[in-house]
């Protein structure tokens, strides 16, 4: 009988070895699945993991990795703060939507005026929108002890309806022949979030993601707030004794997460997506939760996890195109990767022990 024994400290070796192990396991099982589907497994794996980075057209797909990873990293970094403190904001998708709607409203209100102030105003609006939306579950938790997992999740659906209303009503493009959806902000110079250096995929959102990672790292490892966050997550009672105000911590963590999610929405609506539409949100807020955990709630880990996640998306698209793999197989493959990554994490915090009898 195998049983788990908690390590006194997370294993340094396994922290680095487990992701590699998971990727290898996914390649084996995913390769089996591709083989069952009648595709060359080696070619399929190569297409997903290698081609976007070093393949024939990697000069295009590498920047795209940043475009895809940017919002994931930005949101996940914010979420990780809360997760570390035991604050479960799973409604980032809603905060992302509201941030985008706020920002787009500001941009569209200014249309067609040109001013250097418009873009910064949209950035602020996005952050404010996301923060406000995150404050709802935060305040309810602090004031009434309401479970923030559930409130933040409910608010995603509310946000989706607000998005639909905005796309069909007030933000609808008056020149759009009646089709739902707003004007294209990326074609409105004052509001557009374009590549800073053309062709690199480096738009303001990616820059913001990198800044967030750096700040997150400093905050968690050097700042008193980071200490309080870690303490609250690991030993809530000790945190209370040492003077951590749990309510304040909830408000700060949710606020940061909401602001970053709102920013991600803003950069997306002004740049890659371009417009508010009914289907504007494509699940970044939920995927970011997975990214946060894959990155072990550590900013640098999140950076890598976000890039890995983006790689499977881009590589999956390439595999669809060049190998004719159905999108379902790619989703299944991603699901496998996530499962393996989550599964092997146990080795970081626990060691395996053989024992003769079962301990009940």
């Amino acid at each position: 009988m195998i049983r788990l024994e908690k390590r006194p400290q997370p294993s340094k070796v396994w922290t680095w070895a487990t992701p590699v192990l998971a990727v290898v396991a996914t390649m084996i099982f995913g390769g089996l699945m591709f083989a069952l589907l009648g595709k060359d497994p080696v070619l399929a794996i190569r297409t997903i993991f290698y081609d976007p980075l070093f393949g024939e057209f990697s000069s295009y797909s590498r920047p795209q990795l940043l475009v895809k990873a940017g919002p994931l990293i930005l949101i996940a970094t914010g979420l990780a703060m809360g997760f570390r403190a035991g604050i479960w904001n799973i409604g980032a998708e809603g905060q992302y939507i509201i941030g985008a709607v706020f920002a787009a409203s500001v941009g569209l209100a200014a249309y067609p005026a040109e001013s250097v102030l418009i873009f910064p105003a949209m950035v602020i609006a996005g952050a404010v929108g996301g923060t406000l939306w995150a404050m709802i579950p935060a305040v309810l938790r602090v004031k009434f002890g309401t479970n923030e997992i559930l409130v933040s999740l409910m608010l995603v659906y509310v946000a989706e309806n607000i998005l639909a209303y905005a796309a069909l009503g007030p933000l609808r493009n008056p020149d759009g022949m009646g089709f739902p959806g707003s004007r294209n902000l990326s074609q409105y110079p004052s509001a557009a979030n374009l590549d800073l250096i053309p062709g690199t995929g480096m738009h303001w959102g990616v820059v913001a993601a990198l800044i967030a990672v750096i700040f997150g790292y400093i905050l968690l490892s050097r700042h008193i707030l980071g200490f309080q966050i870690r303490l609250a997550g690991q030993a809530p009672r000790a945190a209370a004794f040492s003077g951590v105000n749990p309510g304040r911590l909830v408000l700060i963590c949710m606020g940061i997460a909401g602001a970053l999610a709102g920013l991600a929405g803003m950069f997306e609506v002004a740049g890659p997506a371009g417009r508010i539409s009914i289907d504007f949100n494509v699940g970044y807020g939920f995927t970011a939760i997975i990214v946060a955990f894959l990155g072990r709630l550590h900013p640098v880990g999140i950076l890598l996890a976000g890039l890995l996640m983006a790689l499977t998306y881009i590589g999956g698209e390439v595999a669809q195109l060049t190998l004719g793999l159905p999108v379902a197989a790619i989703q299944l493959f991603q699901g496998m990767l996530l499962f393996f990554l989550l599964a092997v994490d146990v080795l970081t915090n626990y060691s395996l022990r053989w024992s003769g009898r079962e301990v009940a």
Partner: protein, 363 residues
């Protein structure tokens, strides 16, 4: 013309090489045709029909053509990347099959002038290598509206609508107009589902209509759920939408309006092969074989069936336009004078109901 500067950077040298590839000049390599789909090919409706078109292209041209596709492409940043990657993997002609790809299609087209783009249901052609295409679904709606007007006993026809956009409003008006012609007492009950595809919601919409006395249902949403709801209720008739929905023959599904992209896709691929491809807007209908009325079953009386077939023949021959005056708008103001035929511009801007319709279009 706005050209983003992807090509100006050194990093894009490979891109430039790729787009410069004179694929067809060699004469041996097959023409590569790409398709971007909004849904899965297994949706049984909109995307399924486009994919049937892709398969028809493969069958028609054999080894001369190679097709690739990408399904479930969101109308977001992902669309632009999907289209670009398709270009990079060597596509010479790309069909983007949803309205929401409009901006992305035009952006990518600006960067790759040697590749041809075809955007479904859109209206923007910013570059000479972009065409748009659509189908005159309202022609088919006229025929099923006629059948519906004849078949209803309660004089209540239901219409499950998706979004209040001109294409959908054309369909409502066209079917209502022709139902009313054969049955002056008919009234139309419209439910806006605000979705193209949500089986459970469509089923509920159909049931709500049936409970309120509707006995013929038209749908502008793509699932078969309304058909099933009608089958369950009994004595309710429906029409297949997008695909034939033959599983519900002979009743409740008494006919269908099928999106048939095969002829257009084959024609455009041929144009590229011949070097005669030009930018333009194609709005084909029954004459072009793009809008097809599926088998009218025996649940429809023979005389009604004959009338419907006569209308199909007249529209196909160009002798009859479904929007021929005199027609008034809902508020009583004239839309078309006696004998006047609606222009394409009037149709694509249609944002009002016709006289006799009850209720308002949501705004």
């Amino acid at each position: 013309m706005k050209r983003r500067t992807l090509l100006a950077t050194g990093a894009s040298a490979a891109v430039a090489a790729a787009m410069g590839m004179p694929v067809r000049a060699e004469g041996h390599e097959p023409l590569k045709v790409g398709f971007i789909y909004i849904g899965p090919v297994g949706d049984g409706g909109w995307t399924y029909q486009h994919d049937q078109g892709r398969l028809a292209v493969e069958e028609h041209f054999g080894d001369a053509v190679e097709t690739i596709y990408q399904e479930n492409v969101p109308e977001s940043a992902d669309a632009e990347r999907a289209i670009t990657q398709m270009v990079l993997s060597g596509a010479d002609l790309i069909f983007t099959t949803s309205f929401g790809y409009m901006d992305a299609t035009n952006t990518v087209a600006g960067k790759f002038p040697d590749v041809k783009f075809e955007h479904a249901t859109g209206y923007r052609r910013d570059h000479p290598n972009v065409s748009t295409y659509d189908a005159r679904f309202y022609e088919g709606r006229a025929v099923i509206g006629h059948i519906a007007g004849k078949m209803t006993k309660t004089n209540k026809i239901g219409y499950i609508a998706s979004f209040p956009i001109p294409e959908v409003i054309q369909g409502i008006n066209s079917s209502f107009l022709h139902a009313k012609k054969v049955n002056p007492d008919v009234e139309m009950v419209v439910i806006w589902a605000y979705t193209w595809f949500d089986p459970a919601k469509e089923a509920d919409a159909a049931k709500a209509m049936i409970e309120q006395g509707v006995d013929v249902i038209l749908q502008h949403t793509d699932s078969t759920a309304p058909q099933a709801a009608a089958a369950e209720a009994g004595n309710v008739f429906t029409f297949g939408q997008a695909s034939d929905m033959a599983a519900f023959k002979p009743s409740p599904r008494i006919a269908s309006i099928i999106d048939n992209w095969n002829p257009y896709y084959i024609k455009r691929v041929q144009d590229v092969i011949d070097g005669t491809w030009e930018s333009g807007h194609s709005w084909g209908g029954m004459a072009e074989g793009e809008v097809v009325i599926g088998e009218i079953t025996d649940a429809v009386p023979a005389d009604v069936k004959a009338e419907a077939e006569a209308m199909i023949a007249a529209i196909t021959a160009g002798e009859y336009h479904p929007f021929t005056g005199p027609i008034n708008k809902q508020d009583g103001t004239p839309f078309l004078a006696e004998g006047e035929v609606a222009t394409d511009l009037q149709l694509v801007q249609m944002d009002f109901y016709l006289e006799g319709m009850l209720g308002d279009i949501p705004s």
